[in-house]
């Protein structure tokens, strides 16, 4: 990803991966987690669990430690990205394709330990193996790739019970040839919520991996689970960051512009709860909104509302009693997480970032806070001393306005209610309000933002899509594709979308979800969210399905902005304004397939629609 050298870098909180990115943006806190991971990489040969809550910076820290030690895992298994369904076989396919890639990369394709039927399928040379493995993983879709994928999975299926032993013997072979232990990285385990079917399907694989030097990237809830395969494993916890660390991170992200946002940085850091990605989402949203809002405080409150909606609207709420208890005691008893039948309470609250774990207190007790984004709406009795609230007052004082001059009166229930509304029923926004919110996203090829728009009327949604397509082509030519996504017996929505990604070069993928998706299809999309992180996506979801879908998308929604469309287009778009835009841009059109031609073409469609609606 291209980074600005002195200016603003907001990117939805994608993990940093390159030396340049670390130098520019990484906040090195010299944490215990970092030091222990460095030691482990150098000296240990036992497996280890490395975990933290969503968005706390696990992946970035892992990447940093590998980068800093100038080493890489020998083999990485991306359980959140490289699989196409949630079965055991397909998960094993991730493992074996990566193993065979290692063999191919090291010229070891003729080792005897690999059975002839695998060699027959993969080919005669390392290059042929790489090609076959790419096909098996369906990195580009074709009939032969699909056939190869099926053949490979059938091979695994036929010996499913023996795959653990087969895996172990292959690793041993590599270690013998390498004369040292291999470092394995089980990436993306953190996306799988414990006690779910998809997670259960990975258990045999984890059992096989724990016999080797494996780094498991997990969520905090996994660390407090009591599962057989992880019982003897060391656990490294990445707690939420200090507010000061988030402040430094935000300053780095704003570069030379940080001084202009001193007050807002403090406030955003406090509302991040110590979760860097949450802080970045707030910052990104604030920067987009401050262009449209008449003052910065309004932009800030709107940003809180937006991120609150994106992360928590319709999400499965933990028990109120537990919420009240954590808010009062600032403690969470983590043994609650592994209790059978507890999914409604502690596990859900930690996995979904309702509670944020700050510090280990003693034994199984952790200092915990309610996520500041939602606290206002969940707790009836917020005391004036709450840190975010105190900062809000200070912000009001510093910016020369009375507390009651804020858009939301923080001393009253108004703001609480607004945030609550966002959780229960996100407010509808008109197309220009949506565009305001995403102006830094769809308008740029350099970004890879993902938007969900819930709609009721398909004709209106189509007009809105054309409007957004026009606006996204204002300055840069962006090719759009629009596909209807349905669930069928043959192809899941995820596979259909992956197929679209590989078919042709497209800048913005617009997918309209049709029909009702099964829970399985929704879970699949949720777990494979990293398949989407480098794409510009616009998902059109029928409004009546939004609640059910968002409830299943704890992970996925971290990467999406969610909007509910107010369908009275004429209220937000005027014929005169569109004609004026067309008047300017029409003069710039010199050829087809350019930004200006796409802009004009799409805006004319919107204009026609508006004229029809207005004049009949």
């Amino acid at each position: 990803m291209k980074r600005n050298r002195f200016g603003i870098n907001v990117d939805e909180g994608l993990a940093l991966t390159t030396s340049e990115e670390f130098e520019l943006l990484f906040v090195d806190t010299d944490s215990d987690a970092k030091k222990r991971l460095q030691e482990w990489l150098k000296y240990d040969d036992k497996p280890i669990l490395f975990g933290g809550q969503i968005g706390c910076g696990k992946t970035t820290l892992i990447e940093y430690v590998f980068n800093d030690s100038d080493t890489k895992p020998d083999i990485t298994f991306h359980f959140d990205k490289n699989s196409l369904n949630l079965s055991s076989t397909d998960s094993w396919a991730i493992v074996f394709t990566e193993l065979f890639r290692y063999f191919a990369s090291n010229g070891l394709t003729d080792v005897e330990i690999i059975p002839a039927e695998y060699k027959d399928l993969l080919g005669d040379t390392p290059a042929a193996w790489h090609e076959s493995l790419s096909q098996i993983r369906l990195e580009s879709f074709s009939q032969s790739a699909i056939d190869k994928n099926k053949d490979f999975n059938n091979l695994l299926e036929s010996t499913l019970g023996l795959l653990g032993n087969f895996f172990t013997s292959l690793i041993k072979k590599i270690e013998t040839l390498k004369k040292s232990s291999v470092v394995l990285f089980a990436s993306g385990v953190d996306k799988f919520e414990p006690k779910t079917t998809a997670y259960f399907a990975l258990t045999d694989i984890f059992q096989a991996l724990v016999a080797h030097k494996t780094l498991f990237e997990v969520n905090a809830v996994h660390l407090f689970s009591d599962e057989q395969w992880m019982r003897k494993l060391e656990r490294i916890v990445v707690p939420v960051s200090d507010i000061e660390q988030v402040t430094v991170m935000l300053k780095k992200r704003l570069g030379d512009y940080a001084d202009a946002y001193t007050e807002e940085i403090s406030l955003i850091a406090e509302y991040s709860g110590g979760i860097p990605r949450q802080g970045l989402r707030l910052l990104d949203s604030f920067l987009a909104l401050q262009k449209q809002k008449p003052n910065k405080s309004q932009a800030f409150f709107q940003a809180v509302e937006n991120v609150n909606r994106d992360f928590f609207a319709f999400s499965q709420r933990p028990e109120n009693a537990l919420v009240q208890s954590v808010n009062k005691t600032k403690l969470l008893e983590t043994t609650l997480i592994s209790l059978p039948g507890d999914i409604e309470t502690a596990q859900r609250a930690v996995f979904g970032n309702w509670f944020l774990l700050k510090r280990h207190v003693d034994e199984s007790r952790w200092e915990a806070i309610l996520n500041p984004l939602i606290k206002e709406s969940l707790i009836d009795d917020i005391t004036p001393e709450e840190p975010e609230r105190a900062l809000l007052k200070e912000y009001a004082r510093q910016t020369g306005i009375s507390e009651t001059g804020l858009e939301f009166d923080i001393t009253q229930a108004g703001w609480q209610d607004t945030l609550l509304d966002q959780l229960e029923k996100p407010i509808e926004l008109n197309v220009t309000e949506i565009l305001d919110g995403i102006s830094s996203a769809l308008l740029s090829k350099q970004r890879a933002d993902r938007i969900i728009v819930a709609f009721e009327n398909k004709v209106v949604a189509n007009a809105v899509r054309k409007y957004l397509e026009a606006k996204s082509n204002t300055y840069e030519y962006q090719v759009w594709s629009h596909e209807i996504i349905e669930e069928s017996a043959e192809t899941s929505p995820l596979v259909k979308m992956l197929q679209c990604f590989s078919e042709k070069p497209v800048d913005v993928h617009s997918f309209e979800f049709e029909g009702q998706f099964s829970q399985y299809a929704l879970d699949e999309l949720n777990l494979r969210r990293d398949s989407f992180f480098d794409k510009q996506l616009l998902w059109w979801i029928p409004k009546q399905e939004l609640r059910r879908y968002l409830e299943r998308w704890t992970q996925l929604r971290q990467f999406f902005q969610i909007y509910v469309l107010d369908e009275d287009l004429a209220k937000s778009l005027s014929i005169e304004e569109i004609e004026s835009d067309l008047d300017f841009m029409s003069d710039l059109v010199e050829s087809d397939e350019t930004a200006s031609s796409s802009y004009v073409e799409n805006l004319k469609i919107v204009l026609n629609y508006l004229k029809e609606v207005t004049h009949g």
């Binding site: 512009y257 202009a260 300055y475 300017f584």
Partner: protein, 220 residues
Amino acid sequence: MDEDVVRAYLWEDIIRLGFSPAGTKKQKNWLFQYGKSLREFWEVSSFPDPPTVSNSFLVATIDSSCATSMSYEYAIENHKKYTVRLIHTPASTDRDIMWMHDMDGTYFSFPNQFFLSNLNHRRTAVQEMNSAIIGNVLDSLIMHPAPHQHIESPLDNHDIRIGGGLLNPFLYLFHLRIQLCPNSDRRSAERDRLILLFEAAIKGNAIIPPGELMRVPSAI
């Protein structure tokens, strides 16, 4: 030839070759390229909205420069009639207009081009120009306009110099592009780039395409 005379010819050439798009279509394209360049030049998170036509004025709001909590709105009727409103956006209240730069061409301004044409020494001036002299002229036009204003409140930034005597709307906008960039290395690299660009353009007496003029320096 007196260096000041050389500078006078270069002054007029720079304005003519870089900042005088002829006809509405070319003016639209210049302004479009200008808006497009700002996100990358300032390294901010979004593009400004594109210009539009309003009552025969070309208008736009440039709200991407967050370094100063300041945005600006321009309205251009022609090369001699335009306004640029500087707007401060405080945290607490609605936008405040700080001031409006208003160029009204119906009033007399010194006819530089008339005298230079009569003197007819352009060829000699071009022969005698060098990078240092072009740099001097660019400083006076763009980087450090001789008459300029600093903002002292609510923000105190002595690096920002808003030129007071710029007659040409496109030049005025271009100078804001540099003045509102918060990074001194970027401003310095831009100065070096413009010297090379205008030296070549003046030698060839060639109009600089706006896309070329708005390019972002690669040095930083």
